[in-house]
Symmetry: D2
Subunit: 350 residues, 4 copies
């Protein structure tokens, strides 16, 4: 019998749900035992219910699994990954946590809740302590969240720079991939020969989530940071990989861009030190080629878990500017949650 | 016989050259009489030499025109539009000006020269005075230039805001169309499912050209402005239409975004007042829909000669931010030059 | 007061409905007086109800028109163009015809009905006679249809070849544009870096519709032809313009491809002879360049109403093969219906 | 010391050359020891000379290798893979064969030469015998080729059908990926919102190469088959993966499409039987979903070495039609050559 930790996926048939299935296949610590989806899928097998669209084949044993309703009944897995829409996540995630499950969520529902940690394992693993304030924690149930896809890439780059030079202000213009909107998501007529200069709700998340992530833990509570961040989000005709053109000013500016690059390249966190299974060797890959990063060439760096940075240059208004790339459905969604679960296991919380 | 002013095109067979041919067809003031191209095209007709790629058909009478070498020999047109690469433009444009032609150039060669006006007719028509300092002017020959495509859109939007509120700083992140690199230009493997985060030479032009355009005329010489502008330029998979996400701070900030919109919508210049043939009814079209401007829906506003602005919102770092769109090969290139020539005629300089 | 014929649009807010609005603006014979849409749009103006996505601006007077429900109540226009989904078209179109309107439909509901003519004005204008068999005809109401977008382009090319050489068999592989599925239509994740090799329902229409169009009128009834046609339909990442690779064998084969080209170029029908307003000068444009037709370069030939043909060559299995291009939302949909209405007027049926 | 067979790559810096490098990394039998490129790259390291564009990182030890000129001097590898343009391949490949190397070429130069085998290991491994007729063979040097990318996919599907039912005629319409033209290759302005209906030289190869591949070996010479094949080739906006819509008639038609599918699924050749390292588990993957194969979802089946087939259906003109997909730069180019080399080793010819 498997000694692995049993895990389930809430919203297993959608785009992020499928990415969870793909990334969990062959995972050394976790075994997928439950696939949950909406009522209309219950009674079907996963293969019947999901229109599988990953580039690798659906594993047969997963395809044969029966879909369960999103309710914490019967034997429950230790961990449920949530790929639910925020519209339904609030209620469902709470129910599973109350039933004793570790809910590791990619949904936005609880990200800003005071007693729910918003975690990037390289950035703020200590924030996990917040879960002890959750009522369900005494029964082993709790909710942990990862940030929005654009925030993940941004904050991973901001963290070492904040530690080294102190962030004063941050401006972001994103060029985001179609997969960020799920499937069917963005109509093709919106992206053939076109860019859409607005993504509802996205900019607000970039203003707030990094400030929680870069906040400080005080008495099992996170004191949010108050770095002013401005953002404009665009949708471009790319499948996967969000590009972000970022300008940054510092409280203690580095003397040159070499120090920026040094800070980025030497960044390393708990996932790297403790060799978590999904951790990339280096969380940030710096590429000196002025034409990089590019989605097609760089999004799979570190198995899709590394953020790639290029175009580090002096700015005429800020201290520096740079361009970063994050794989939005791996490091920005399913992979983010899986790394969070690995951190939970590593910290003895599973 | 035609009473129209005879015009020629230098570099007539390339992408911008073809756009000149298209836009000049049926022009009320100008008649295309000369098509100049490189040596290997001489002896062919225009139809034979140009791989016509405009969406409208090549007019037959233009197709039958013989290609001439880029030398000012034989009977010369009054005006030559230059679509030459900057590598050859320096010498050729000077030769035509010395021969008495009005050279209206889209090339970058002379844009920053002290005695050559860099003109957007709505922005700085008075700068035309600078041509009197050119030695060839006494013989009727001179060079007039229009800015880089990205600069045109940006500066048209900055001008009314500068007049109303005084520019303090400007940050630009562009998402530029493939046609900006000409044909063959950008390889398809660079833009299918991809964005390229760098365009060589582009950012430098954005730092300097707007400051010449927004400079003041003093004694037949332009005193450049010194507004700090920062820019990061990206290439996206769009045919035509450069999008620019712009953030701006002012010396005398408006009290709300309504004043910004009012300033943009009331902007109007010599082309509108004197009803130049290629002038759009309004140089700036404001669209309140948060999902606009989009290249596919807005690039042909004003026949491709209007700049479309949307997403005017408060910024957390600057006073405001907005997104603008300019058709890079019409208002940003061939149309820009034709409007400059119309201004010359309007001002009695042809 | 206008002497024009009043027309309405059923399903006016959708993609094809918008194209009707665009093409009817400034029409010399027809005046748009009624815009009909689904219940949820009733009570709004057209500007409020339609998410306008045409490349030209929505005319203000149309934007201000109130949306009416799809019921024949109140004062009715003489003609209603139908852009309805076939799911609702059956009932609604019949109701308007019964109420005395000329229903000129782009829907598939009645295309194959015995008493409803399926018309391409250049191909089978005589089939209009069939409407006399409709019960509503005595009150001035009737239904006329145009074919599926892919069929229109194909049959316009087949008609002159059938007349000249007699069709024996036809094989088609299509590469169809995204707009054929309407908006939102095809998800962008299906067309970025991808082709979808199947379009539900499309191939069946290609088997049957051309045989009705190429059928013969006998006693106010159409005797369908029985030319074997095979088809495979693919969706590609193109906005507008269906390409079709076609192979054809003949009963009396031409001696060379020159005869094919001659037959195509000399093709001319009632729309050209009677100078109908939307008729292209030539229904078929032949382009000898081996790299043509291309959607981006050729779809607007004849204002989007001409079919472009290229690559006419001998086949190793059929007599010849060729590639054709048809603008699927102009000649293949809204423009097709408008030309049908013009034919009705020309034939004294309005 | 390595016991692996030393191999080199001719034209190692180009698009196909890079794919060779990528696929050879970690190969169990072959070790890349020589990278050859044009004169202007000689003296540089591979990392300096190649603009690496694969989605996986360039291995550091390969990046450090010095580029050698395309001449058989110094210590030679046992095998050279050729990714040369046909313009230079003729001379260079002959020189390396004369020097005793096994030249395994993706170039078209010698494909149709009588004494050069054109090989797909699953289709015609026996044709290798032809190399014995090459003068250089006595010294261990010879040339072996793989077919054009479109031909590979087509012929792998035709082979089991030919064996089972006897091919009478074959019609192909291809939708080919941009990478087939190399880098820079096809301009982006040709593929954004567009399809190009012609690929020079491609159709001729489809007429002839499958007939050599499906020919019979007689006295160390290949007797070409004479199956009539017709083809029309299109370029679409896809990065990798050629789709082919194929119609086929048979001498002994199957009674239904089930027999076709059975023949395709049971196809298996020497690479599968002898477990060659690059061999896919099954050379042909059949997908019953009507919307498959799709480039994005299926091109990496079998590591890019399997051909995916879908849409098997009765044709109204042929016996059946189907759609196939082949990864053009893996199974259609570099992977094809590597599998050929593995076959050579397996057959004792290295």
């Amino acid at each position: 019998m498997s000694q692995k930790i049993s895990v389930g996926i809430l919203g297993a048939t959608g785009a992020v749900g499928q990415r969870f299935v793909q990334l969990l296949e062959g995972h050394p610590w976790f075994e997928l035992t439950h696939v949950y989806a909406s009522e209309r899928s219950v009674g079907k097998t996963y293969a019947e219910a999901a229109q599988w669209r990953m580039e690798s084949a659906l594993p047969k044993h997963i395809g044969a699994m029966p879909i369960a309703a999103c309710e914490p009944t019967g034997e429950l897995p230790r961990v449920v990954f949530s790929a639910l829409d925020s519209s339904v996540a609030t209620e469902v995630e709470r129910a599973f946590a109350d039933a004793g499950c570790a809910v590791v969520s990619n949904s936005s529902s609880y990200r800003m809740a005071d007693d729910v940690p918003l975690i990037i394992p390289e950035v703020n693993p200590d924030h996990l302590d917040v879960i002890r304030a959750q009522a369900s924690f005494k029964n082993g149930g709790f909710i942990v969240t990862n940030p929005n896809c654009t925030t993940v890439g941004l904050t991973m780059v901001l963290k070492p720079l904040h530690d080294a030079f102190g962030l004063k202000s941050v401006s972001v213009v994103s060029m985001q991939a179609a997969s960020g909107a799920g499937y069917p998501g963005v109509p093709s007529l919106d992206l053939i020969d076109n860019v859409v200069p607005y993504i509802p709700g996205e900019e607000d998340k970039i203003y707030t989530e990094p400030n929680k992530l870069l906040g400080t833990l005080e008495n099992e509570s996170v004191h949010h940071n108050d770095i002013p961040i401005d953002a404009t989000c665009n949708r471009v005709g790319v499948r996967d990989g969000h590009l972000e053109a970022v300008s940054i000013s510092f409280k203690s500016p580095p003397k040159d861009s070499g120090e920026i690059i040094e800070a980025l390249q030497s960044f390393c966190g708990v996932p790297q030190k403790n060799k978590l299974p999904s951790a990339p060797e280096a969380p940030i890959v710096y590429n000196e080629d002025a034409f990089r990063p590019q989605p097609i060439l760089d999004r799979m760096n570190g198995g899709g878990m590394a953020v790639t940075v290029g175009r580090v240059k002096e700015s005429r208004l800020f201290d520096i500017s740079l361009t970063l790339l994050v794989h939005n459905t791996i490091r920005g969604a399913a992979g983010a949650a899986i790394l969070n679960a690995e951190l939970l296991k590593d910290q003895g919380l599973l």
